[in-house]
């Protein structure tokens, strides 16, 4: 019964997310509405962590496998990818490097500043 209840709650929140996607005319995936709604329900104590935790963790644990069907669709998308293969690889590799370096440096600077401020207050 426990898993049925947990899965039921997750599906209900997911369904409300899809409903919001249907009503609100923005290109935002229904799953994101569901995610934010689920977070709000937890923060607002409408739902307890135990009401969803086990099933949610199970779904997250098996999530990688869920990407295989979409990625195997590369078979059909290959004609789209082939002409831009090199630009695609360059874009992917260089942007990963830049984002990692920039985020790290920025975060470190700002963390130092905020911890200094705290020390000054003390």
């Amino acid at each position: 019964m426990k898993y049925l209840k947990q899965f039921g709650i997750i599906l209900l929140v997911t369904c409300i997310g899809e409903l919001l996607r249907f009503i609100i005319p923005l290109p935002i995936p229904g799953s994101i509405y569901g995610l934010v709604l689920m977070l709000a329900l937890l923060i607002g104590k409408v739902l307890k962590l135990e009401d969803v935790k086990d099933t949610a963790q199970f779904l997250i644990a098996i999530m990688p496998v869920m990407f295989i069907p979409a990625a195997a669709g590369l078979i059909n998308s290959w004609p789209d990818l082939q002409p831009i293969l090199i630009p695609a690889l360059v874009t992917t590799a260089v942007s990963t490097f830049i984002v990692m370096a920039a985020t790290g440096i920025f975060a470190q600077k700002i963390m130092h500043r905020s911890s200094k401020e705290e020390n000054n207050h003390a």
Binding site: G73, V99, A102, M111
Partner: protein, 230 residues
Amino acid sequence: MREFIAGSATFGVVLSLVCYYLGVLLKKKFNSPIMNPLLIGIVLTIIFLLVFKVDYEDYNSSAKYLSWLLTPATVSLAIPLYMELDRLRKNFKAIILSIFVGTVISLAVILVFALIFGFSHSQYVTFLPKSITTAIGMSISEELGGIKAITVAAIIVTGILGNIIGESVLKLCRVTDPIAKGLAMGTSAHAIGTAKAMEMGEVEGAMSSLSIVTAGIITVILANVFAMFI
């Protein structure tokens, strides 16, 4: 055989699971970041379909049930985020600002490359969500008119690359603060980068997993703005 695969309710799911499991075994044996179970699972699935001349549509007639689980699984990402909320509250402004800056830079870099290479709108939005978690990135690409399968491939390549180069890049940039390291890994290389962040330490891992969903949500909003530029 073709009729069997097209009519089966489980074949595509079983094939995907077996290929993924082989990836897990290879990862255990060689323990290298290239041996990513998801990457191997995808490659083996594609090889199987090509070798046995199985139509993608026939495979997907049952494999789609795996994709079906993706929406509730994405909603479930709220649970680990909720569990990390206390850590988030402590340095709320600094953390959110860092992830926000990282996300803007990610989108801006993709825009610059798209302009350099002359990408079409569809090609451009395919790569826009490449640094965030597959579940969210895939739906953004779909909503904006990108090519979903290529987005998934770019996201996975990004994750694996981030996992491999993470330690050297952070060292090179003299990033030593554990919170900053975690934010950098999660914002640039989502869940696969987070696996590396967890090896670096507990704070790094927690910050990185926090970044996955936060960067994902920020990207949902900003990608819609950036999508208008090309």
